[in-house]
Amino acid sequence: MKRTGLANRARLVWAIVVKDFVDGFKNKKLLTNTISIIFLVLLYRFLPILGSGSDPTRLVLYDEGESSIVRELDRSEAVRLREVETFEAMVYQVGIEDIHTVGVVLPVDFDQQVLEGERLMLEAIIDHWVNDEDEAYMRADIEPELTRLTGAPVQVNMVREEITQADGAYAFQIAIGLLLVMGMMGMMFTPQLLIQEKESRTLDAMQVSPVTMMDLLIGKGIVGGAYALLMSGFVLLASGQFVLHWWAILIAILAGAFFNVSIGLLLGVILTDQKQVNLWGFIIFQPFIITMVVGMFEPIPNTIRSAMRWFPTVAMGNAAGQSITASVDLGSYFLSILVMFIWGAAFFGVTAFLLRRAEK
């Protein structure tokens, strides 16, 4: 076979991409799925907020001395207390806790200040994305309660702090949102692009046209990837306020899309109908999502945690989480990106191999 020009190949891939996009806009099933995913993303993002309306504020307390008020705060119903040993632990805990969490420092001479009956000013931290409304909500819980318990007027000076760790509730929220949309678009929708061609037997028409199976694979991959990126945009719209490093989240999304779409292409090549895609897409998705949840939250031995870094969804969780921290741990971040690309390239390589073998 003679080598054909790159421009020619690009034209063929572009033709497939344009056709699939036009077809996608007319596909009611795809539109329904898209709306469902958006709904799911919004639900994940805003359900905790809706459900937390009457919850007491979580108070992460770092007591520099041995203040007597701590025992009374523990029994308080206005706040939910969690005491930590160091300032760093307080910052960490505020970063990983869910909505309405404030870290308060009790100075070493707090009891003395209370006895003197002076107006008390306490230093506190909240996450950098907390809005004014939520700040007021927490203030309304904490200040009256501290005033009641001390008998002296208390004012809390809340400072917004950039979080330092990539495995908290908000990192998880972004990561799980991205995995949901990319899993749906990559592992469920992308194979359908190929299955449709098989079921309608339009693939036969492609085979007698100048399109090679590699053109087809790349074209379908681009379409699946574009939909995955588009849907990821909704996750960022919903959770973008947490992000401090946009370059980090965008690279993470690209790598995640590549890895998810590569799995989808493999499924599309080896499976023959829509039902198989639904079944196998669902089955394959489970270990990926479970590993991410376990990898980000569960207290697991360090050896297992180290091994899990090589799992693509754990890597995706870490990379997405890094984007909302004060400073990106570049070594850990780029290792995660590399892991996703390696997995994606491996799946794509296997798919290309199978197609080339079939073509011969």
Binding site: K26, S209, T212
Partner: protein, 242 residues
Amino acid sequence: MKAIEVKDLHRYYNGVKAVQGISFDVNDGEIFGFLGPNGAGKSTTIKVLTGQLRPTSGSAEVVGCDVVEDRQELKPQIGVVFEYQNLYERLSARDNLQFTARLYGAKKERVDEMLELVGLEDRSKERIQNYSNGMKQRLLIARALVHKPKVLFLDEPTRGLDPGVAREIRSIIANLADSGVTVFLTTHYMEEADRLSDRVAILHQGEIVAIDTPEALKEAYGEEDRATLEDVFIKLTGKDLY
């Protein structure tokens, strides 16, 4: 010049002999009828000639391109109408043709020309899932011609169509030959093959049992003065057509 040259072509599927050593030529600009009962190997032969299947042995050239070695060079030179209606149902006729035109690098005007040729210009923007079988079949022919192929493969192009629509399709095929396109036609309808084909080959159990002009075949194998191609077919294959 020969548009198609097939020499001692074999194709086996898991040990089953679908095509067994067939050899034939198709002349440039000719309508060549390729007839045979179900399972005779017609579709297998078309798949080999269009590069969809590799032959087990033997060789085949279409417009001078080896169907195995020069597969990519062959593709722009042929058009195929499959025996099933494989179109993008959610897209319009125009979208379907534009996609094919893009694949072959054909000019945009060809889309309008083809829509006019098959009489679909008025409904070109409708989704084709609303089309009748006849309209879809006409669109399939338009799709196969959009890039001006030198050889057109038609696999049962009138099967299951109303007589009126089938006649329109036959008229389009006849006009194609007049414009210099070589047509490789498989059909169950002997009258259609008789009327359209310059020459026909009759395939039986993977082998060609006769090849000539319809008139010559009727003369050679017909037992009556008014023998039809169907009579010849039944005599040679021992099978009814339906």
